[in-house]
């Protein structure tokens, strides 16, 4: 039951917000629907943790500890982002960057985007997974170009075409997967059911699955933002409105990586070799290194943090590629930490750019004097994402790197160099933004900073102490990933 609420609420919310038009209370309604979705997700999570994995709705949906953890994370960040966007988008409107019609589109598309992501996470059918991933892209294309500036249109076009081509590769991979599965499971929808596929995975034809995985990894990997397929990501993050950057970076990338992981479990079973893991490690490592060196060259603050997202998703991909209980555990933990921290940073950055009137980092100075809370939010968020103890990112990065030292020592110098370069570059940039001299004035509105600090407190708490039930839960999920 709670499962249908989970999918139904955002869908109804989207329709209702579209019908409501540019109502004055639309931002509150948006937040209320997001909160209801979060409650449904929490309820579902509690039941799955207590009762174990289960199949819902005539086997169309499947929920285990791996995807329920992402469902909870998605619903939570979607809720806090809706809280943040309420005052943020009002300020944007007062600055004349948005019209009421566009705000209406923002709210309706936002709920639709959440629905598409939750559908992708919970579906049991690899074909529907594809459909939902593409749906999530479509729901956000017009959000990226919401400001209708030349740069935002260019970014949205790139986002649509590059992700479209990428996802077409994934469709071909899905066709190949169906081709291999149909021989064992017969025709019809059930041949693409992940639960059924998982049961017969050792009998799937290895040659076909190998080819299928290459297409699936390239296809969904484009959406994860893995180098060298990452070109759309910094543009879409930098040019879209900040709440969109926060959910793209904090949620969509996770969902895409989730799709890759579901495929990897099947391919590993069929091949019995390390091929899938090695490919992921390669792509992951390349992303970490490429992103770290590109961070150095950025002048736009949102673009810089977009590259940092590529770096962290690369790190998670690398961890999942290594496989094994510890690395998968670390990967899941890092996924959570990155989502929470990066969306908090984007919230703080959003208000910082509003108060400075520019996204160029040289134009943002002395936040600690003009807007102390925004300044502290940005500084603490930056320290957290750079992996400073005691924040949770430190714990997950530490686990990933020590596992890498143990199992793949050749990769450690690359990882450490990249993390060092990223640290120096980002910290060097953020420090004057927060502490520099300034003539800027205080932001004349009440910023929405509660979500920033809620996220950072969670990250801090998880860095100091992971409650046993949560650790158990992660361990179960890591086991599913072939730990």
């Amino acid at each position: 039951m709670e499962f249908y609420w989970l999918l139904g609420i955002p869908l109804v919310g989207s329709l209702m917000l579209a019908a409501m038009g540019s109502h004055r209370r639309a931002p509150e309604v948006n937040a209320a629907f997001s909160f209801a979705t979060f409650l449904a997700a929490a309820w579902l999570t509690a039941r799955i943790v207590a009762e174990g994995p289960r199949v819902v709705g005539a086997a169309w949906f499947f929920i285990d500890s791996f995807n329920v953890f992402l469902v909870a994370l998605t619903a939570f960040v979607a809720f806090t982002t809706a809280l943040f966007s309420r005052p943020y988008m009002r300020i944007e409107q007062e600055h004349g960057k948005l019209t009421p019609q566009r705000l209406r589109m923002f709210h309706a598309s936002y709920q639709l985007f959440i629905f598409a992501m939750l559908l992708a996470l919970t579906t049991n059918n690899m074909g529907i997974l594809w459909v939902a991933m593409e749906g999530a892209t479509l729901a956000t294309v017009l959000l990226v170009s919401l400001y209708r500036t030349p740069a935002s249109l260019e970014a949205a076009w790139k986002y649509f075409i590059l992700c479209g081509v990428g996802i077409a590769q994934a469709l071909f991979g899905t066709i190949l997967l169906y081709f291999a599965a149909e021989k064992l499971l017969g025709e019809g929808g059930m041949a693409l059911s992940w639960v059924h596929l998982n049961e017969v995975k050792t009998d799937l034809d290895p040659v076909v699955l190998q080819l299928a995985f290459v297409f699936l990894l390239v296809g969904y990997g484009t959406k994860v933002g893995l180098a060298p397929l990452h070109n759309w990501l910094p543009d879409a993050h930098a040019e879209g409105p900040t709440p969109v950057s926060a959910v793209l970076s904090g949620l969509l990338l996770n969902v895409a990586l989730y799709a890759v992981m579901r495929c990897k479990v099947l391919v590993d079973g069929a091949l019995g070799t390390e091929l899938a893991g090695n490919l992921m490690m390669g792509f992951g490592l390349l992303s970490v290194v490429v992103a770290a060196f590109l961070i150095k060259r950025q002048t736009d603050v949102k673009r810089m943090f977009a590259y940092s997202s590529i770096e962290h998703m690369g790190l998670v991909t690398f961890a999942f590629g290594m496989g094994g209980a510890v690395a998968s555990f670390a990967g899941l933990l890092h996924m959570t930490m990155h989502s929470l921290t990066k969306s908090a940073i984007f919230f703080a950055v959003g208000h910082a750019t509003q108060s400075a009137g520019t996204q160029v980092m040289d134009g943002i100075r002395g936040l600690i004097k003009t807007n102390p809370t925004i300044g502290w939010g940005l500084m603490l968020g930056t320290l957290a994402i750079l992996g400073m103890p005691p924040f949770g990112v430190f714990a997950s990065e530490f686990l990933i790197i020590t596992t890498a030292m143990h199992e793949h020592p050749w990769a450690t110098p690359f990882l450490l160099t990249a993390l060092g370069v990223a640290f120096a570059a980002i910290f060097g940039r953020v420090q004057p933004m927060v502490f520099g001299e300034t003539e800027l004035k205080r932001l004349p509105y009440q910023p929405a900073l509660a979500p920033v600090f809620i996220h950072l407190v969670l990250v801090l708490m998880l860095g100091l102490f992971i409650p046993p039930y949560l650790a158990d839960w992660y361990r179960q999920a890591a086991q599913l990933l072939g730990g």
């Binding site: 074909g127 529907i128 209708r148 949205a156 693409l192 040659v207 543009d235």
Partner: protein, 220 residues
């Protein structure tokens, strides 16, 4: 009619589909490109129908009907209306070195046939030989997207790629499960509608649908 005759007709139609992909690669005029796209959809739908009839796979009829409805009627109509509204119907594109593009296309076809070889041998369908053709047309559409600089031709290249993928699904496995095909069709339809809105935004901002104006976001 005998089974082998059906098969020959299916092969002929798939070859036609590939030929149209080559024609699209060298077509300069937007109107011509949309017409070619409609014909390609028709070739796909006909071959799907014949496969459905000769093998008794009834769900393929729906797939064919969907292709006719969307890709032969609705989308070309939508595009024609769009270019009339955008006043782009006389638009002619200067293409970069057509003979070279064609040669690259031929190399891609050879590559696609080699890649499809091991899979089509494993397939139990009567139509397995056209898997190579399907992969070749996917790659050709990809090439078309790379060589074009205008917005509408790029999107048509994208949709032609979808045609190739549907042909691949029909040839290797007699089509995907119906619900997945419906979902894919829905995504494509919504995507095209969104792009329709998007074209107007691009046109409003840049006074042109030429993507040359959209090259400011680059790493320097």
């Amino acid at each position: 009619m005998s089974q082998s005759l059906y098969l020959q007709v299916v092969n002929l139609l798939s070859a036609l589909l590939l030929l149209i992909a080559f024609a699209m690669l060298s077509q300069r005029r937007v109107v011509g490109l949309i017409t070619l796209f409609a014909w390609q959809g028709l070739a796909l739908a006909l071959s799907t129908t014949i496969v459905a009839y000769s093998t008794g796979q009834h769900h393929l009829y729906y797939s064919a009907a969907l292709t006719v409805g969307l890709k032969v009627i609705a989308m070309p109509w939508f595009f024609f209306r769009l270019i009339r509204q955008l006043d782009a119907h006389r638009e002619v594109e200067t293409l970069f070195n057509v003979p070279t593009t064609m040669l690259v296309g031929i190399v891609l076809v050879v590559f696609a046939f080699n890649l499809a070889q091991p899979i089509s041998q494993m397939s139990g369908t009567v139509t397995r030989s056209i898997l190579g053709i399907a992969m070749a047309s996917v790659l050709l559409s990809f090439l078309m997207m790379i060589t074009r600089t205008k917005a509408i031709p790029q999107v048509i290249g994208f949709l032609a790629m979808e045609n190739g993928l549907f042909l691949a699904a029909t040839s290797a496995t007699y089509g995907m499960p119906l619900v997945v095909e419906l979902g894919v069709a829905l995504d494509v339809l919504v995507g095209v509608l969104i792009l329709g809105i998007f074209f107007f935004h691009i046109r409003e901002t840049f006074d042109s649908l030429d993507l040359k104006h959209m090259e400011s976001l680059k790493e320097r």
